[in-house]
C-alpha cells in the first residue's frame, strides 16, 4: 500500500468511477447499493461517476474504479493518462478484468465484422482486439464478474476506508456452493458447470438456481481448465460445446483462452448453443 493510500484512510478520498467499452451494468450495481449510497458518500468524495452524471471532472482522484475494456485507440491512450494521475486504480467487471464478451472478436476478422455491422465502417475507429485494462497499465486491484457483486464492492470500499486488505479470495466457486448447501450440478448431471475453475465472489448464484456456472468471474488462481475440458469430453460433450462454454464473458482471460484455442476456437457463428 502506498503512502497516498494510507493518507486517504484518514481523509475523505476522492473517488472517480469511469467507463470504457462496457454495458454499464457494473456501474448500475453501484447505483443499486441503495441502502449504503448515502453512507458511502459521507466517506468518499464522489468526484466523477459516468453512469450517474454527465459531469466530467479533470481530477485529481485518490481512487478510480474503471469499468470496461480497451476497445478503441482513444481508450488505449486515455487509460494511460488516468493511470498516471491515479494512486489507486481498481478495475471492475469482466470487461475491465478480462476483455468482456466483446473480446470474442479477438478470434474473428475485425474488418469483416465492422463492415457487416456498420453502414459506414470508415467512421468507426476501433481496435482489432478488446483487451483488459491490465494489458495496458498496472492495476492495483480488481473486482471480477458480469456484473460485479455488490458485496464484494462494499468489501473493497470498506477495506479502503479501514485500511486493511480487502477479503477477495481467489478460490473456486465450489467452496461457496458447499457453504450454502447447493448440491453440485455437475455431479448430479444438471448441466456443465465452470464453477471449479472460476473465481469466487458471486456467492455461487447460478448453481443455486440449478444451472451451471458460466464463468463470468473468470478463471480463479491455478484454474485447471484442461482437466475439466477432458472430463466434459469423457462425459460425452463435443469439443465445440465445451469451447462455447468457456467462450463467455471472460473468454479472453489466458487460462480460458488456452482451453478455447486447444478446442479449435470459439464456435461463434457456426450454430446457436443453449449455453452460448
Amino acid at each position: 500500500m502506498t503512502g497516498a493510500v494510507r493518507a486517504m484512510i484518514a481523509s475523505r478520498p476522492r473517488l472517480g468511477i469511469m467507463k470504457f467499452a462496457s454495458c454499464d451494468g457494473c456501474q448500475l450495481t453501484i447505483l443499486d447499493l441503495e441502502d449504503q449510497l448515502l453512507d458511502l458518500l459521507t466517506r468518499f468524495d464522489l468526484v466523477e461517476f459516468a453512469e450517474a452524471s454527465s459531469y466530467r471532472s479533470s481530477g485529481p482522484f485518490d481512487v478510480v474504479l474503471v469499468e470496461g475494456s480497451v476497445s478503441t485507440p482513444e481508450q488505449a491512450e486515455e487509460i494511460v493518462r488516468i493511470r498516471r494521475e491515479t494512486p489507486l486504480l481498481v478495475t471492475i467487471g469482466a470487461c475491465a478484468t478480462a476483455g468482456g464478451i466483446q473480446a470474442l472478436r479477438n478470434w474473428a476478422d475485425h474488418d469483416a465484422y465492422r463492415a457487416a455491422v456498420y453502414a459506414h465502417p470508415e467512421y468507426v475507429e476501433s481496435l482489432a482486439t478488446s483487451t483488459p485494462i491490465s494489458d495496458h497499465v498496472a492495476v492495483d486491484g480488481e473486482l471480477r464478474g458480469c456484473p460485479i457483486d455488490p458485496g464484494q464492492l462494499l468489501e473493497l470500499l470498506t477495506a479502503l476506508t479501514v485500511g486493511r486488505r480487502p477479503q477477495l479470495p481467489d478460490e473456486s466457486v465450489c467452496l461457496e456452493c458447499k457453504r450454502r448447501g447447493t448440491v453440485c450440478v455437475l455431479v448430479t448431471g444438471s448441466g456443465p458447470c465452470l464453477g471449479p475453475v472460476t473465481h469466487t465472489g458471486c456467492g455461487a448464484l447460478c448453481p443455486a438456481y440449478a444451472r451451471g456456472c458460466y464463468g463470468c468471474f473468470g478463471p480463479r488462481e491455478g484454474a485447471n481448465g484442461a482437466s475439466l475440458a477432458t472430463w466434459f469430453k469423457r462425459d460425452g460433450r463435443t469439443d465445440a460445446d465445451t469451447a462455447r462454454l468457456f467462450a463467455g464473458f471472460t473468454a479472453y482471460a489466458p487460462p480460458f483462452r488456452s482451453v478455447i484455442d486447444s478446442l479449435g476456437g470459439p464456435p461463434i457463428a457456426s450454430d446457436q448453443g443453449e449455453d452460448a
Binding site: 478460490e171 465450489c174 467452496l175 458447499k178 453440485c184 448431471g189 477432458t230
Partner: protein, 681 residues
C-alpha cells in the same frame, strides 16, 4: 465398544415413524433427516415421515450421482449424499468474536454459541464415526471449539444402519460400518414393513420406552442382521489399510502426486463434502468504518492457495503439494494427531469430485500394499466394527512430544484480553518493538519462544512472537508485513489491542543445561530468541559457553542494535554479526550467517543449538551444525506457518504430523524427521 441396553429392541411399523417424529418434536427438537432436494438425498428439516426419500435411491460413481426410483416404499435405501451432519454440528459460518474499536481502545466479546435441541435421523455407521472423529478434533482438547461442543451436546443421534451401499462406499475398509455399534442414541434397521429399533444411550432408552413398541421378534432381528451383513459382503474390502500410514509416509516423493495434480482441479469439493474435514479460516465482517467487526469461523480447505499463504510466500504453492497434504493427513498423520484415521470411508470425496478422482485408486497407486499381506493386514481382515480401527497399525514414527507449556488448563479456546501500548521503539524501517502493559496472568506466565495472537477489530489476527517478558507486560517486535501488522505498528502510547495466548511450545531452556549454547538467527528471527537470551542470563551458571550468531540483510535491518552492542561487550557471551550487504558505517563481516562458524570452535558433542530465521537460512545452518557433530535431538528450530486460531483447531499450520501453532513453533530436528526442509509441506 457396544453399550448393552436394558431395553430390548422393538419393532416400529413403518406407519409409526410419524409417532417418533412427534415425540422428538414434543421434546422441542428440530428433526434433521434425509429428504429429496436439488436432485439428491440431502439432510434438511423433516416434519413428517412423508418428507423422507420414500422409494428413492441414488447411483453413485466417481464424479457422478443420479437419483433412481426403487418402486418400493422403503425410506432409507440410499447411501450417503452430498450433505453431512457437519452442516449442523460445524456450520459453514459461525460468529466467534465481536470486536470494537473506539478512540484507540479495543474491546472483544465472545459470541455466545446458539445450539437449539436437534435430532439427527438417519445417521449411518460411517457418519457416526465422522461425528466421533470431529469430537476428538474439536471438543477433546487441548483447546475446545465452544460452538461445536454446544451443538454436538444438543444433538440426539438416531442411526439407521446402511443396507444399500453405493459403489463409492468403503466403510468396511475403514472399520466404520455398515454395522452401527456405538455413538448413537437410537439405532434402527429398515425392513420392508418397518424398523428394528434399539437404544444406545440412556436418552435413547427413554425414547424407546415412550415409543411403546412391541418387541422385535427373532425373525425380524435376524433379517435386520442379514441385511447389514449383505451390505458388508457387497462392499468387500476395497482399500487395504494395513500399514497405510507408513506406506504413505514412504511415498512422500512419489511421482504420482504430480500426475494427480494434472487431473485435480484444487476446487476443494472433496474437503467440503468430507464429514471429518475441519479446516476453517476467520473472515471479518465489518461496518463501513471498521469500528465494529464480527470475526466469523468459515469453512475453508487445504486445497486453496490462500490457505497456506504467509506474508511474503506460500508453503504449498503447487496443487501436488495440496493433494499430498490432504491425502497424507487423512490417512496417515491424522493417526499421529488424533489416534485414528481421518477417513471414515463414506466415499463422498469420490462421488463429488467434479472430475471423478477416486481416492481408493489413488491410495493404491501412491502407496501400494506389499504384494504379500503382512501379519497386521491378515489380522484385520474380516474383523467387523470399530475394533477394526484399533487393529489398523497406527503411526510408525514417534509421536511429537506433548506440549511443554500447555494452554492454561485449556478447557476452551482462550479469549482476547486487552493490552495497552506503554512504549514504542522503531527497530528498522518497517519494524517496531512495542511494550504492552497487561494484567492477564496467562500472558505474563509465557515462556521464551511462545507467541500470541494479536488482533485489532476488522483486521485478521496475527501470530507474533513475544520478544521480551516483563513482570507487568510483554514486548512484541512487529514487522509491517500486511495490513494488520501495519496497523499494529501504527499504534500509539495508550492505545490498546487484543492479545490471546501465550500459544505453543517455546524453547526448551532446560535442554541446554550443562551444555554450550549456540544461537543462530537471521533478520527478525532474533525476536523470538531474545527471551531465550534473557532466560539464559537469568541463570547464567547453568550453561557453559553461549554464542549468538546473527545475520541480517544490511546493518540497518538488524534489531535491538544497542542491546547487541551491550551484549557483545559481555565477557560471558560470544556475539557474531554478519550482513549480506555492508553500509558506510559497517566494519563487521559480510556474508551469510553460516560463515560465522568458520572462525569458531564448536564441540558438537557438548552443544545445544537454537535456530530461527528464514527456512533457507535454517536448512543451511542445520547442515553446518550436523557437520560439527550436533545431533538432531539437540538442534531446535522455530517454524513459521499460516496461523489463524493458534490452538490447533483451524488446520492452517499443519506440517506433517504437527500443528505448528500447538505442537511448535519450536521443534527439535529429531521430532521433525524428514519433514524438516521438505518442499511443499
Amino acid at each position: 465398544m457396544v453399550i448393552p441396553s436394558s431395553v430390548d429392541p422393538g419393532f416400529l411399523p413403518r406407519a409409526g415413524l410419524d409417532r417418533l417424529l412427534d415425540l422428538l418434536t414434543a421434546d422441542g427438537r428440530r428433526v434433521i433427516g434425509p429428504t429429496i432436494s436439488q436432485g439428491a438425498v440431502v439432510y434438511d428439516e423433516i416434519h413428517r415421515a412423508a418428507d423422507l426419500p420414500s422409494g428413492w435411491t441414488a447411483d453413485q460413481a466417481p464424479g457422478s450421482y443420479r437419483l433412481r426410483s426403487t418402486g418400493t416404499d422403503r425410506q432409507f435405501d440410499y447411501a450417503v449424499g452430498p450433505t453431512s451432519w457437519k452442516h449442523e454440528t460445524f456450520p459453514p459460518r459461525v460468529p466467534l468474536t465481536i470486536g470494537r474499536r473506539v478512540n484507540g481502545q479495543v474491546t472483544f466479546e465472545d459470541a455466545v454459541p446458539v445450539a437449539p435441541l436437534v435430532a439427527f435421523l438417519g445417521v449411518r455407521g460411517c457418519e457416526i464415526a465422522a461425528l466421533l472423529t470431529q469430537d476428538t478434533v474439536l471438543a477433546r482438547g487441548p483447546a475446545v471449539d465452544r460452538d461445536y461442543a454446544a451443538r454436538r451436546a444438543a444433538a440426539l443421534v438416531i442411526a439407521v444402519e446402511c443396507v444399500t451401499p453405493a459403489d463409492t462406499c468403503f466403510c468396511t475398509s475403514m472399520g466404520t460400518g455398515p454395522e452401527v455399534t456405538a455413538g448413537f442414541d437410537l439405532a434402527m434397521t429398515e425392513l420392508d414393513d418397518g424398523f428394528v429399533v434399539r437404544a444406545g444411550s440412556p436418552a435413547g432408552e427413554r425414547l424407546l420406552e415412550r415409543l411403546e413398541l412391541s418387541p422385535a421378534d427373532e425373525a425380524r432381528t435376524s433379517a435386520a442382521r442379514s441385511a447389514v451383513a449383505a451390505a458388508r459382503e457387497l462392499m468387500g474390502d476395497p482399500v487395504p489399510t494395513g500399514g497405510l500410514p507408513a506406506r504413505l509416509s514412504a511415498a512422500a516423493e512419489s511421482p504420482r502426486w504430480a500426475e494427480i495434480a494434472e487431473r485435480c482441479l484444487a476446487c476443494a469439493n472433496c474437503t467440503l463434502v468430507c464429514p471429518t474435514c475441519f479446516c476453517t479460516s476467520v473472515t471479518q465482517v465489518s461496518d463501513l468504518d471498521g469500528l465494529e467487526a464480527t470475526a466469523e469461523r468459515t469453512w475453508d480447505s487445504c486445497f486453496t492457495l490462500g490457505f497456506s499463504r504467509v506474508a511474503g510466500g506460500n508453503f504449498r504453492p503447487r496443487v501436488q503439494d495440496r493433494y499430498r497434504q490432504w491425502l497424507t493427513h487423512k490417512f496417515a498423520t491424522w493417526w499421529d494427531q488424533f489416534g485414528s484415521s481421518g477417513c471414515v470411508g463414506c466415499g463422498r470425496c469420490i462421488t463429488w469430485c467434479p472430475v471423478g478422482i477416486d481416492v481408493r485408486a489413488e491410495l493404491l497407486a501412491v502407496a501400494p500394499p506389499p504384494t504379500e499381506l503382512s501379519d497386521a493386514t491378515t489380522q484385520i481382515i474380516g474383523v467387523p466394527g470399530p475394533e477394526r480401527i484399533e487393529a489398523v497399525p497406527g503411526p510408525t514414527t514417534p509421536a511429537l512430544l506433548t506440549a511443554m507449556t500447555p494452554l492454561s488448563d485449556a478447557v476452551e479456546s482462550p479469549t482476547y484480553s486487552r493490552a495497552f501500548v506503554a512504549e514504542r521503539r522503531r527497530e528498522t524501517v518497517d519494524t517496531v518493538t512495542i511494550r504492552f502493559d497487561t494484567d492477564d496472568p496467562d500472558l505474563l506466565a509465557g515462556r521464551p519462544g511462545q507467541f500470541v495472537m494479536a488482533a485489532l477489530p476488522a483486521f485478521s489476527a496475527a501470530p507474533i512472537s513475544v520478544s521480551r517478558f516483563h513482570p507487568d507486560g510483554l514486548e512484541l517486535t512487529i514487522r509491517a508485513a500486511g495490513a494488520a501488522t501495519r496497523a499494529m505498528c501504527g499504534l500509539r502510547r495508550g492505545d490498546s489491542l487484543g492479545l490471546r495466548g501465550p500459544m505453543g511450545r517455546g524453547w526448551p531452556v532446560d535442554a541446554a543445561e550443562g551444555h554450550d549454547v549456540v544461537i543462530v538467527t537471521g533478520g527478525i528471527g532474533l525476536a523470538p530468541l531474545r527471551p531465550l537470551v534473557d532466560a539464559l542470563f537469568a541463570e547464567r551458571t547453568r550453561f557453559r559457553e553461549i554464542s549468538l550468531l546473527y545475520g541480517a540483510r544490511s546493518p540497518s535491518d538488524r534489531l535491538y542494535v544497542e542491546e547487541l552492542s551491550e551484549l557483545a561487550a559481555r565477557p560471558d557471551l560470544d556475539v557474531g554479526q554478519i550482513v549480506d550487504r555492508a553500509g558506510p558505517d559497517w566494519f563487521g563481516r559480510v556474508g551469510v550467517v553460516t560463515s560465522l562458524f568458520d572462525q569458531r570452535h564448536l564441540d558438537g558433542s557438548k552443544a545445544v543449538a537454537f535456530v530461527c530465521g528464514p527456512e533457507r537460512m535454517m536448512t543451511a545452518t542445520v547442515d553446518v551444525l550436523r557437520d560439527r557433530g550436533v545431533t538432531d535431538d539437540r538442534i531446535f528450530v522455530t517454524l513459521e506457518r499460516h496461523m489463524e486460531c493458534g490452538v490447533g483447531l483451524c488446520g492452517h499450520c499443519q506440517l506433517g504430523k504437527a500443528f505448528v501453532c500447538r505442537d511448535g513453533p519450536v521443534f527439535s530436528l529429531a521430532e521433525m524427521g524428514p519433514a524438516f526442509g521438505r518442499e511443499g509441506l
